[in-house]
Amino acid sequence: MISLNNVTKYYPMRDGERHYVLRNVSLDIPSHRSIAILGPNGAGKSTLLRLIGGAEAPNEGSITTEADISWPIGLSSGFQSSMTGRQNINFACQINGLSKAETQQVIDDILDFSELGEYFDMPIKSYSSGMRARLGFGLSINFDFDYYLIDELTAVGDIIFKEKAKKEFKKISEKSSLIFASHSLKSLRESCQSAIFLHDGNLEYFEDVDDGIRAYESYIEKKSGTAPKKVARKAAKKTAKKAAKKAAKKAARKAARKAIRRATKKATKNNPNNKNEK
């Protein structure tokens, strides 16, 4: 379990005002459930993951846990851009106190998973965002965490990586949990059971991920109730009406046909039946 106790996080803005990401939030994140983080752009999904992962500290309150939590695994995660992929992996292994043999094992596995080939010995700054994602994710799955914090990771990958990631997510959710921030509702539905909806400095927890997504969608609808959308809705209503009319007509015709058929059947049935019974 991860407990957020009266957590407040803000960023000072240019004009001296504070932009609150979280405002006095308390929440217990249960374990052994994969959790989707939902929220509009700039709501602070990445910040929430960074707070949970300990990369940033809250301004007030505390986040307590007994669990092993990964660092936020995202596009810019944990890499120094002038070092090569191998050097970065060595760094991550070294700070976590891995032995040389273990480090070699990790490197072999990452080479296999990320399919970086020669790029593994090139500086990270020459990588595409997909390659970074592959390296970062490949590194994190070599460590055994209770929670894996995923920040928009699959958004940049190609189909091969997405398939691989999906498989790994499944493997992870067997023993550990994902905390997964993404805008792809489909992949959130696929790999998460519960959801946290982050908006206006608040966190809402939903036991069922579909409830969370519904709340998120209705929030977005409310927020973006602008003119073009209304027009679109009107148009949609019109077409819906037309379709309904058509369907009604069809149904009526069908019903009529059925009624005729039934009537004729009855008529043909009645005559012989009556005779037989008698």
Partner: protein
């Protein structure tokens, strides 16, 4: 099979992080040069040679029995002990931003690693130069070796304190980085690097003595070369300076810790 990360004591974990960051400095500092770590020696040597060739004939009025080059080298290396960590601190956070996602890497760690890196490389260069001087036949005494080491350490501590503080402040206000660059220019002239303290008229000497570097540099020469004598310098004053700047640096760090982890 995924590897379970072992729980480590805070101290062990801290050492691991500093070690890894130190290695990262080694890689990025020397990795791009063909001569690699040789530049640790070449860099100060070339600077001092050029300076010595230009200034030597102008300023060389017998300084005991020290050749002017070694007189200069001694001052210049201690100056580097201050400016090295100072400049390394200026970009410590921005150059390691990507690595700060790891919970174990706190923003002060890149500072510490960079300062230690400066200490290691510059001290190595200094030792090599001393050996060369001894080998050439410059009269040196090893009697006050500890005091000489104290001079080096104090200079380094002052540089580190300033580097920590200015590094954080410049990270907040980018313009200051330029100012810090200009402020360092006169250091070569007001720190007794290229001339001895007693070459300065007594009425101005008082002002120069406010500079802690004057104390460490002149004291160091006094320790290494028995024929060199200076009055008025001590180690208490630079030690007080070191204490002050490090305390201020740590306070600045504490006040800005949320800002530093921010992306």
């Amino acid at each position: 099979m995924p590897i379970k990360i072992k729980e480590q004591s805070p101290w062990k974990s801290q050492v691991l992080v500093i070690k890894a960051l130190f290695k990262r400095e080694l890689i990025t500092r020397f990795g791009k040069y063909k001569l690699g770590a040789v530049w640790v020696l070449l860099d100060p040597l070339l600077t001092v040679l050029f300076l010595g060739l230009i200034l030597g004939p102008l300023l060389d009025r017998s300084r005991g029995e020290i050749p002017y080059i070694f007189f200069l080298l001694c001052g210049f290396m201690l100056l580097k002990m201050v400016t090295g960590p100072l400049n390394a601190g200026l970009s410590a956070v921005s150059a390691n931003q990507g690595l700060l996602v790891f919970k174990k890497v706190q923003p002060i760690d890149p500072f510490i690693a960079r300062f230690l890196f400066q200490l290691a490389t510059n001290a190595l260069a200094l030792v090599v130069f001393c050996i060369i001087a001894y080998w050439i036949g410059v009269v040196m005494s090893l009697e006050h070796l500890f005091k000489a080491a104290a001079c080096v350490l104090l200079s380094w501590l002052i540089g580190s304190g300033l580097g920590l503080q200015l590094g954080i402040v410049c990270h907040r206000h980018n313009e200051l980085e330029k100012v810090v660059g200009y402020m360092q220019r006169p250091l070569l002239w007001i720190s007794c690097v290229i001339h001895p303290l007693d070459g300065v008229p007594p009425e101005y000497r008082v002002y120069l003595l406010y500079n802690p570097l004057v104390h460490t540099i002149e004291y160091m020469r006094m320790c290494l070369f028995p024929s060199y004598v200076v009055d008025d310098v001590n180690l208490i004053y630079p030690a007080a300076w070191a204490l002050c700047v490090i305390t201020m640096g740590l306070i600045t760090y504490r006040n800005n810790r949320h800002f530093l982890t921010r992306r």
